[in-house]
């Protein structure tokens, strides 16, 4: 069975392109994938090759966004930066969505003691500011992009758990669930085959917001020097490297940050638009 939300993708895209704001945001989001795939053809320079003769040059026709402290072209690094970005989004969201949704579904479906215990875990995780969980995990695992991505995934899982639990509580009262119980379907079949596809929409919307959060957290941790390591063209790391030259070469700091801002904003706009398109009965359950 193909989930409902997959069939509706062309419809969603058409709706997103109906308004200028969401159209631009959608283009940015889709553009990241295009840039990441075609970076080798689009980027004018290499992202890692230093050129010490051209250190910290302001924007010019040769280097549209200027160069950084090693003389690398900032535009090219931003374009190549969509690759670590895409990696962060997919892995962090996958971890957060799968673990969180699983906990939420089980908690909501079985109720009783299972729910009481799992809800405490969700509550506890939600009391931590996400950045603190991420910092704690980085302290244990060590620094690096892979570890940061795991940390973000775990830190954001509680959001999915709470959402999935709320949706499950509504959905398990539906007639079709009763019907599948009546024909003798097992719990796992009911949860994953029948209920999950029906609540996938709101979870997908949450994934869009989580992608935005993941980008911000990765950038923040890389900015603190805990995330991506050189010469990875992570935008947060670019900011970290550029902040020491802020007085003499502010452009090296301004553009990567602008890129983060635009992409995060676009994800949030798309998420918001998708949420408005959703069945109104889900709107209440979501934040």
């Amino acid at each position: 069975m193909v989930p409902k939300f997959l069939i509706s993708i062309p419809y969603m895209l058409r709706a997103l392109y109906r308004e200028p704001t969401t159209a631009i945001a959608t283009t940015v989001v889709l553009g990241i994938i295009v840039l990441a795939v075609l970076a080798d053809y689009i980027a004018p320079y290499s992202y890692s090759e230093p050129n010490l003769w051209k250190r910290l040059k302001p924007p010019s026709w040769d280097h549209l966004l200027g160069t950084d402290h090693l003389g690398r072209d900032i535009l090219s690094r931003i374009i190549y930066g969509t690759r670590p970005l895409l990696y962060v989004i997919t892995v962090a969201v996958a971890i957060a969505a799968s673990t969180g949704t699983l906990i939420g579904l089980l908690s909501g479906y079985f109720g009783g003691r299972v729910d009481l215990l799992l809800s405490r875990v969700i509550d506890a995780l939600m009391s931590f500011p996400a950045i603190l969980i991420a910092l704690a995990i980085v302290a244990v695992l060590g620094t690096g992009l892979e570890k940061v991505v795991i940390a973000i995934g775990i830190a954001e899982a509680s959001v999915f758990a709470r959402l999935a639990r709320g949706l499950m509580l509504v959905e398990k009262e539906q007639l079709y669930v009763l019907a599948s119980k009546a024909v003798g379907a097992g719990s796992s079949r009911i949860i994953f085959k029948h209920i999950l596809p029906n609540i996938a929409g709101p979870l997908m919307v949450q994934a869009t917001f989580t992608a935005a959060a993941a980008i911000l957290w990765e950038a923040a941790l890389s900015f603190l020097g805990l995330g991506a390591q050189p010469p990875t063209p992570s935008w947060g790391l670019m900011l970290y490297e550029a902040k020491d030259y802020m007085r003499t070469a502010p452009h090296a700091m301004i553009f990567p940050g602008l890129a983060i801002f635009i992409v995060v904003l676009s994800f949030n706009i798309v998420g918001e638009a998708l949420r408005d398109m959703m069945d109104p009965r889900f709107r209440r359950v979501m934040r």
Binding site: T21, R120, V121, D123, A124, L125, M126, S127, F128, P129, A130, I131, L132, L135, A136, I137, V138, A139, V140, G142, A212, L216, A219, A220, F223, L224, G225, L226, G236, L239, K243, M246, R247, P250, M253, I254, P256, G257, L258, I260, F261, V264, L265, N268, I269, E272
Partner: protein, 310 residues
């Protein structure tokens, strides 16, 4: 009824507290490296010394007993000592937290003023261009990378205009830029929450009645809508205190502001784990306690909440 809800909430608080401690304790246990070797200068101590140390630290006991001992120490205020300065972690955290609290409160005040004002403008004409613009501006606020925005403000006000200090904590001037930075990422949240809460009240009969009496729209919104939405706004903002604290961690690092967030980050670099995990436990406890207080206050002020939130 009120009492039973309050007991219910307080009873939920205690297990959640232990879950938090358990998570942190497990993470501490997962830390790479053998604590006894660390104490012995990265060398393997003689077996009898190792055994004595293990007994002294309780490392020979089962995991769950160690966890209970850890919880006991946390509740009795024995949070360990900083590996580098030897200062008791509990004192260090408290001192650093005062700075964080100062920053959070000032920025929350700024964010509330901007956020509620923006929500007020939006609610005056729901669905209009102004409303959508307010929505976009607040979304831009919380899409902003805090650290970058902080650097931009430093560039503008410290480097170029030389009006304000770029960091540190000396007097009121040094608080301006960090709290403005933090307010920028938080006013959006407050604006949306306020707008939603005000719109909920907006369609109620007494608001229509007030309008029917011929009051000016501004008066209707301020006297009838805002006053009734206020409790909800305060509650929803209070329940998001954790998110506000998260922004503070990063802001402090950008401005070299001596708060608890910067302490944690510095602790990670220095591998000063008692400080790192002491700070994390403390912030989590503060956030949890504030959430509990806000929740209880809401239940007392608005009896409807007791039923719907169970």
């Amino acid at each position: 009824m009120a009492l039973s809800y309050i007991t219910y909430r307080v009873f939920l608080y205690i297990p959640t507290l232990f879950v938090i401690l358990f998570i942190v304790f497990s993470l501490v246990k997962l830390l790479p490296g053998d604590p006894i070797r660390v104490m012995y200068g990265e060398l393997e101590p003689p077996p009898e010394v190792r055994k004595a140390l293990e007994e002294k630290l309780g490392l020979d006991k089962p995991f769950i007993i160690q966890f209970l001992l850890y919880s006991y120490r946390i509740f009795t205020g024995d949070w360990g000592k900083s590996v580098h300065t030897g200062e008791p972690v509990a004192e260090l955290v408290l001192r650093r937290f005062t700075a964080t609290l100062e920053l959070t409160i000032v920025s929350l005040a700024i964010a509330s003023i901007i956020g509620i004002l923006l929500a007020y403008i939006a609610v005056m004409r729901p669905g209009s261009f102004v409303d959508r613009l307010a929505g976009l501006v607040s979304m831009a606020g919380y899409s902003m990378p805090v650290f970058w925005w902080g650097l931009i403000l430093i560039l503008a006000f410290s480097v170029n205009l030389q009006l304000l200090p770029p960091g540190g904590r000396e007097g009121f001037e040094s608080l301006v830029l960090p709290s403005l930075t933090l307010a920028t990422v938080n006013f959006g949240l407050i604006c949306r929450v306020s707008r939603a809460a005000m719109l909920e009240v907006y369609s109620q009969d007494f608001v229509i009645a007030a309008r029917a009496r011929g009051f000016h729209e501004r008066r209707v919104v301020i006297w009838y809508v805002m006053r009734n939405a206020a409790v909800t706004i305060v509650t929803l903002v209070g329940l998001r205190f954790g998110i506000l604290m998260g922004g503070a961690v990063i802001t402090e690092t950008v401005f070299a502001y001596p708060g608890v967030g910067r302490m944690i980050v510095e602790g990670i670099f220095a591998r000063d784990y008692p400080v790192v995990f002491g700070g994390i436990v403390f912030v989590a406890l503060v956030v949890m306690t504030i959430n509990l207080i806000v929740d209880l206050a809401y239940a007392i002020l608005d009896p409807r909440a007791r039923v719907t939130r169970l």
